[in-house]
Symmetry: C2
Subunit: 227 residues, 2 copies
């Protein structure tokens, strides 16, 4: 227990807030960035099981430094994840910038599995739920995907009976499957993406069961379904 007399007034507010913007020393800022970059690489190579020590070595700092900047491995992973999410959002927005909705959709659909390939940790993490911390970025991503889907549908480039939730699920499947094959079979990866895209073309055979699901509905279902 901290004696009351030693507590700084306003202590509560200066606890480890996410928004603790106090000025940092230049070397601290630099090291933090080095660690984050190294962690991204190491997680990409070895998955979430990668060791702190390896990250420290790669960043050229001591383990103590890694752990000071990111008190837990979990936290470090989340930080890396957040930056990866941002990068994916950027890809989605790049695609969205293309005037042709069909091309935009396809561009994103092709680029994502590629991204997964170089970020195994990202793929693994999608599997778990701890990524919840990345909420705001996640919402951005969902919005972008929805937009891509809607536009492509409006242009008749993809079938009308699917929803964003379908697309994101397909994407995660393709990404995962092709990441397993690794760089080994780039052609197989390419073919895989094409086949799934063909499944998304309009004018398919029988109607799908159920109906299109948006991310909003999906989230609601997740909240109410379990528990």
């Amino acid at each position: 227990m901290v004696p009351v007399s030693s507590r700084i007034p306003g202590d509560g507010a200066r606890a480890p807030d996410p928004a603790d913007e106090r000025p940092r020393r230049a070397d601290a800022v630099r090291n933090r960035a080095l660690v984050l970059a190294a962690a991204a690489n190491v997680f990409a190579e070895h998955g979430t099981g990668a060791q702190i020590e390896e990250i420290a070595r790669r960043a050229g700092v001591g383990v103590g430094t890694v752990c000071r900047h990111f008190p837990t491995k979990q936290g470090l992973l989340q930080a890396v994840l957040a930056s990866l999410y941002e990068s994916v959002v950027r890809q989605a927005e790049d695609a969205l910038a293309h005037p042709d909705p069909a091309h935009a959709f396809e561009q994103f659909f092709v680029s994502l599995p590629d991204f997964y390939l170089r970020h195994r940790a990202f793929a693994e993490q999608m599997a778990n739920e701890l990524e919840l911390a990345a909420q705001p970025v996640r919402d951005q991503l969902m919005a972008a995907i929805s937009e891509l889907v809607n536009r492509a549908q409006a242009a008749g480039a993809i079938r009308a009976d699917i929803g964003p939730a379908d697309v994101s699920m397909l994407l995660s499947g393709v990404a995962h499957a092709t990441a397993l094959a690794g760089d080994l079979q780039p052609m197989l990866r390419e073919r895989n993406v094409r086949i799934v895209l063909d499944g998304l073309r309009p004018g398919s055979t029988e109607p799908l069961p159920g109906r299109p699901v948006s991310f909003t509905e999906l989230r609601d279902a997740k909240q109410h379904g379990p528990r």
Copy 2:
């Protein structure tokens, strides 16, 4: 170092062979089976991170017993995996028994993601390479899938420009993606499978890049590609 005089002649041959068929006590046989069954359940529920102690409890034996039958957790996992593989092979063969090739293919394609859903460990493990120990069963599975694909193609039920390797990759993607969604969204899972199946229908738009790849070729590529 073991003194030479204490070494049993023929020691080398009685080392932990895989083919050590010496008769076991009845309780040992029973317990081994109990452990294997419990492990399958526990791994299915908690993934490969499940704890030995939980498995022991579930099997109604002590941890010592688990570890005697399966000296390492890795080994236990592989044993479970092998039995799951067998079960998948059985599913493929069941499907193969159906006279209509189109139905056979679809039946298997639908049943596998379902199986993954209840065996998270299996799905996780597909991601790693340690499953190599299951080689013989694996070959059986590949043979069965190839057969399903070939027959379906001969019957014109699925497009001719794909190979078994494409199918298995798609399958693993669908399986993984839908396993993440869990039981939560069975409808989404169903739709996902249908969309991919639509992508496999004949008469698709543009031709796929590359050419169909068989498992044999895939394996060769894996052996020669890296290293």
